[in-house]
């Protein structure tokens, strides 16, 4: 049964409010998980578990949050920036995220900003309705 993007957002919002101890109004589509919402690495696992339970699907962590494995590969990172190869890899692994702005200056420190609430919603939308 199809579930609307709006319904997905509402459920993701509930998950993040519980997992990160936030107020509902903090969790906007544009909010970044680490920068704006204060998520740490263990929270990502918590969020994955909660999303799996809420949507009754399997959510492989490396699919939803693929940057870790990209960053750990020396071929993909050079001088604190993603290489062309790394950028291509990240694009391939994050098809639900718009990387246009990031590609102009692919500083690894900015990767955290790519994980927005909207990116999770896009991922789930593609998974559930794709």
């Amino acid at each position: 049964m199809a579930i609307s993007r709006e319904e997905i957002f509402k459920k993701v919002q509930d998950v993040l409010v519980d997992a990160l101890g936030l107020d509902e109004e903090d969790v906007t589509e544009e909010a970044t998980l680490m920068g704006d919402l204060g998520a740490e690495s263990i929270d990502f696992l918590d969020i994955v578990f909660r999303l799996e339970k809420t949507f009754n699907i399997k959510v492989p962590r490396e699919e939803l949050f693929p940057a870790e494995s990209v960053l750990n590969n020396p071929e993909f990172v050079s001088g604190g920036k993603l290489t062309a190869k790394g950028l291509a890899e990240l694009k391939a692994r994050m098809p639900h995220t718009d990387l246009t702005d990031f590609a102009k200056d692919p500083d690894v420190n900015k990767i955290a900003d790519l994980f927005t609430v909207g990116a999770i919603v896009n991922f789930l939308d593609a998974k559930l309705n794709g």
Partner: protein, 162 residues
């Protein structure tokens, strides 16, 4: 140091749930300071007791091959004081478990009274914190912890235990 806040297991269902028991006694020195004239078990130690109950449950589910570390207290709500002379039971169940981590739900009870609800996240640290190296031996599950399970679970091997 013997940092063990459960006395024994009462029930143990591998990979699913466990019930442990703790007797609280004035022989525990900290109760005299917490608080003078009004001894109550500190809530942080109730969380630790739950972390031990649930942590052993999570560790045993992977045959103690993972180093299981308490990573996050998702929820801890307390409804009553626990006093010397009380016997509390710690009921833990695994909610989710993956190669990297596990989450558990738990309740502490005294008889039929609900004392606390505690939900925890555990990390299998070798699978996380990419790049960092930890000692080979499993420093989490020492024999003291594992002996709590004697009679409940057949240990398939002692590998991974220090």
């Amino acid at each position: 140091m013997r940092w063990i806040w459960i006395d024994k297991f009462l029930e143990f269902e591998s990979g699913k749930r466990a019930v442990a028991l703790k007797n609280v006694t004035l022989a525990e020195e900290h109760l005299h300071d917490h608080f003078p004239g009004f001894p109550v078990m500190p809530e942080c130690l109730m969380i630790e007791a739950m972390a031990q109950t649930a942590g052993i449950l999570v560790g045993q589910a992977r045959n103690f091959q993972e180093k299981v570390i308490l990573a996050k207290i998702k929820k801890a709500v307390f409804y009553h004081y626990v006093r010397p002379g009380d016997t509390i039971t710690l009921h833990a169940q695994i909610e989710s478990i993956s190669p990297e981590a596990a989450s558990t739900e738990g309740e502490i009870r005294r008889g039929h009274d609900l004392i606390a609800r505690i939900s925890l996240m555990f990390s299998h640290i070798d699978k996380n914190l990419s790049g960092k190296r930890f000692p080979e031996e499993n420093f989490v599950f020492t024999d003291t912890f594992c002996s709590l399970l004697d009679g409940f679970v057949q240990q398939e091997s002692s590998e991974g235990r220090s």
